[in-house]
């Protein structure tokens, strides 16, 4: 009974917080003066410029996906499966951009390549124009989003490599070298996982708002935001958002039909079996060099540029005095958001993993769909649904931000929980059931403690995504409750460059420092 109640409540919470705002948006867009009308959609579909924008979104997403996949997969193999020197340091470094709001990387490249940037001091004026024009447009967007989403493909490749049974590769090695084994066994086995990562990158790029807005490359999410913000047109904003929602839905449908089954077929290696390591031998240095160069250019250079730009005591003093309050808020909202997401994700993941209710597939699809939906769309939906006097306890308080986090990021904690639960033998729960323990008791005393590593990972991932969130927070934050990434975004309008750079460095420290402290604390306690 308790199981049924809690799982149904979880589903209701996700429907109310995630699905209802989207339905409210659609209803608003097809209602003109109380009558059903598709006039707005007709206008959007008939407009040539909207198709051009859709083309922009597609080109950006496809180029970013191809580049991240082409480089992320070999990089993941090198870092997870070989004895490449410094591979752990490289893994940490390559992951950093994913932890930050992507526009921070864009700001850094602007400081370097902009018309009056660092490089302009060494290049001729016309060369600086070329680099600036290159940055403000498609190439710049691809560069920034490539460095941001490269870790998605890299980390998922590394994760899926651990799911391969090493005995298969060892058997392959008896008749072939490592290149043959990689080509015929390893890569084909991780291919569904890599494709999954590519789809994720495609959808994240398709929904990205901050980077194209900053680098002035007009894509669909930016247009949605503009329609909503500049022309005060809810209906048009929804109509603009719908093509993205449809594309997201179709891509996820294809993923479910063609890829999901295959990824489920990959058998998890049992603990202790480990991963077969490829020894690079004398050629190690030739592999280190390109990895180090790539890491230097897409991770180290942007951070160094921000550090150089912000190198004054006054910049940091100004940054702290102007944004200290929003930094504290960001910490607390991210921590609360992550905690709520972990609890919801746990029950949602349990429901999905155990197929505990008939609607498990629908709920799984809903969370993934919401994750892939542009944040601007979710933001508009939340405003439409909760902006009324009777619900001001939500709309006029930080609860609306937490709702936004839940709507967008539950998929992350839910999937991590589902994967974690897949590694816990069902016999443990069965044994306690036979002993007479109820579901709630079994869950809190057996399942949750056994899944604590996964839950901690879910909390950390939830925390990072809440902390770096810009799109939803910017649209819905109540007066006096802006978060740190939003504060950076608003101060960018004519704010001094050293102040903005200092804020970006503080954002990087604010993200990495708590993660480092938690990692050390939990490691010493033996949790990780």
């Amino acid at each position: 009974m308790a199981k049924r109640t809690i799982l149904i409540c979880t589903a209701i919470v996700l429907i109310v917080i995630g699905l209802l705002p989207i339905l409210a948006m659609i209803l608003q867009s097809v209602t003109i003066d109380g009558r059903l009308s598709f006039a707005i959609y007709k206008d959007v579909l008939a407009s040539k410029s909207e198709w051009i924008l859709l083309g922009h979104s597609f080109v950006l997403s496809i180029l970013t996906t191809l580049l991240t996949t082409a480089i992320g997969m070999p990089l993941g193999i090198l870092l997870a499966k070989t004895d490449l020197p410094f591979r752990r340091i490289f893994t940490v470094f390559f992951t950093i951009p994913l932890l930050l709001p992507p526009y921070i990387i864009a700001v850094s490249w602007f400081i370097l390549l902009g018309r009056d940037g660092f490089l302009a001091q060494f290049l001729s004026r016309s060369a600086a124009e070329v680099t600036s024009n290159w940055l403000f447009g498609l190439p710049g967007c691809v560069l920034v989003l490539f460095s941001t989403f490269l870790p998605v493909v890299m980390l998922l490749t590394m994760t899926f490599l651990r799911t391969i049974n090493p005995r298969l590769e060892e058997a392959g090695k008896t008749v072939s070298g490592w290149i043959g084994v990689l080509r015929t066994i390893t890569i084909p086995m991780i291919l569904p996982g890599v494709l999954l990562a590519s789809i994720l990158v495609f959808l994240l790029t398709l929904g990205e708002f901050g980077v194209p807005a900053f680098l002035r490359y007009n894509v669909f999410p930016v247009e949605t935001f503009t329609q909503f913000s500049a022309f005060y047109d809810f209906g048009a904003a929804t109509a603009f958002a719908l093509p993205l929602a449809v594309i997201t839905f179709l891509v996820l449908l294809l993923e479910r039909i063609f890829i999901r089954k295959k990824t489920y077929e990959v058998k998890l290696a049992s603990e202790g079996e480990g991963i077969t390591v490829i020894h690079l031998g004398r050629g190690r240095k030739w592999f280190v060099l390109p990895v180090a160069v790539l890491c230097f250019f897409i991770v180290v250079v942007p951070i160094l540029v921000l550090m150089f730009q912000s190198m004054s005591f006054d910049a940091y003093y100004q940054a702290i005095s102007r944004s200290g309050d929003s930094l504290l808020r960001s910490f607390s909202y991210a921590a609360i958001g992550a905690s709520v997401l972990t609890v919801l994700g746990f029950f949602c993941g349990y429901l999905i993993h155990n197929k505990a209710m008939p609607f498990w597939l629908s709920l799984d699809s809903l969370t993934i769909f919401l994750f892939a939906l542009p944040s601007t769309v979710i933001g508009i939906g939340l405003i439409l649904l909760w902006n009324r006097a009777s619900t001001n306890f939500i709309y006029a308080t930080p609860i609306i931000i937490i709702f936004g986090y839940i709507a967008q990021y539950t998929a992350l904690t839910s999937r991590i929980t589902a994967s974690t639960l897949a590694q816990i033998p069902y016999s443990m729960e069965e044994a306690s059931q036979v002993a007479g323990a109820g579901w709630l008791r079994r869950t809190t005393l057996i399942t949750a403690p056994l899944a604590k590593r996964g839950l901690l990972a879910a909390w950390l991932v939830g925390y990072i995504f809440c902390l770096r969130d810009t799109g939803i927070s910017m649209m819905v934050y109540p007066p006096g409750h802006d978060t740190f990434p939003v504060r950076i975004f608003t101060l960018m309008a004519n704010g001094p460059a050293d102040l903005i750079a200092a804020l970006c460095i503080i954002m990087i420290i604010a993200t990495l420092l708590p993660l480092g402290i938690l990692a050390v604390a939990f490691k010493s306690k033996g949790f990780v």
């Binding site: 018309r115 500049a230 609360i336 006096g480 608003t490 704010g495 033996g526």
Partner: protein, 341 residues
């Protein structure tokens, strides 16, 4: 194992409770005012902080971003018409204030501090009041010898493919074009726009970008806001600022004041009035003149830095901002077509 689990739960609980305390258990205060701001945060926030210090009234603000073309808070105000959270709107130009008036979102308030501000910069019914203005000026690259002095330069053959203007669908450029439609009439204004297009004017994404184009020597001149020009001149960029159409038979330059609006149904009306009075004071105008936004005080006799001309010394376009707001709405389809949107 059990000990570790307990320790884990304890650590997580302590962190959670601590964060709940710092986020939610702050002292509740009703002595506050909620303001939505479309003036850049970097300039407006210090003023609001000074207000907090001087009055003890807590200011809760929502700021705009450049990426929303500084109109995001307008969207919020409109969507919150039946559930207003804001008490005051600080707009960076008066047209938005007019839109709020026309949509029934603004309330009347005539501040005693606004008596000396010229009537042209105030709504006659008291729905909004202007202060600290920007002028629409030319930035001209210093290498250009024959300096343009009129907005009509955009249509002259000698400037073919050498001039820039920010996208007229957004911001103060829209205001300027709508003002031209209001004073010239539709036919003359459309002819001007068409001639400008034939003269191969470059369209930039913002006034700031236009000013950068001129500073880099890519183009000869552009219409921008005076704060864009002054800030770059103070940075040592190679540009000069020219107030256009200052001659005897010329129309003058457009003045774009900030505007402050009391929101209908404001939950803190007294504090809202105090904030409006504060924004409309001479001292606030002096601060905004000396800040990097270099805004022109509308009160007579307010001290200004040397690079800002007093309002009394400028020939300005005499325009009814209410009519400009109406015109702006009318010409939007034409402007979209003009831009190729």
């Amino acid at each position: 194992m059990e000990y570790r689990n307990r320790a884990f739960i304890k650590v997580v609980s302590v962190v959670f409770v601590f964060l709940m305390i710092i986020s939610g258990c702050r002292k509740k205060t009703m002595n506050e005012v909620v303001v939505y701001v479309s003036e850049d945060q970097v300039f407006s926030e210090p003023i609001l902080r000074d207000f907090e210090k001087e009055t003890g009234i807590k200011v809760k603000a929502v700021y705009d971003t450049e990426e929303t073309k500084s109109t995001g808070v307008m969207m919020r105000l409109i969507s919150e018409k039946n559930n207003p959270l804001a008490d005051v709107f600080w707009a960076n130009e008066p047209i938005r204030a007019e839109v709020l008036k026309n949509k029934g979102i603004a309330a009347r308030y005539q501040s005693p501090n606004a008596r000396e501000i010229p009537d042209i910069y105030k709504d006659p019914e008291g729905y909004w009041t202007g202060f600290s203005a920007r002028a629409r000026v030319f930035v001209v690259n210093k290498k250009v010898k024959d300096i343009p002095t009129s907005i009509l330069a955009y249509t002259e053959p000698q400037w073919k493919a050498k001039a820039v203007i920010a996208n007229p669908l957004f911001g103060t450029t829209t205001v300027e074009i709508a003002a031209l439609f209001a004073i010239w009439g539709d036919d003359k204004a459309m002819a001007f726009m068409d001639d400008m297009k034939k003269n191969e004017v470059e369209i930039s994404t913002s006034n700031g970008e236009s000013a950068d184009f001129i500073a880099s020597g890519q183009f000869a001149f552009s219409l921008v806001d005076s704060d864009d020009a002054v800030s770059r001149i103070r940075q040592g960029k190679s540009i000069a600022m020219v107030y256009p159409d200052q001659g005897k038979n010329q129309i003058g330059c457009l003045i774009v004041p900030n505007a402050v609006v009391l929101i209908k149904g404001a939950k803190h009306p007294d504090n809202a009035a105090r904030l409006i009075d504060y924004l409309l004071s001479k001292e606030t105008e002096r601060k905004l003149a000396f800040a990097d936004c270099a805004q022109i005080p509308l009160h007579p006799g307010v001290e200004t830095p040397a690079d800002i001309k007093p309002i009394e010394s400028l020939k300005v376009i005499k325009v009814d901002y209410g009519e400009v707001a109406r015109k702006m709405e009318d010409i939007q389809p034409y402007l979209k077509q003009w831009v190729g949107y």
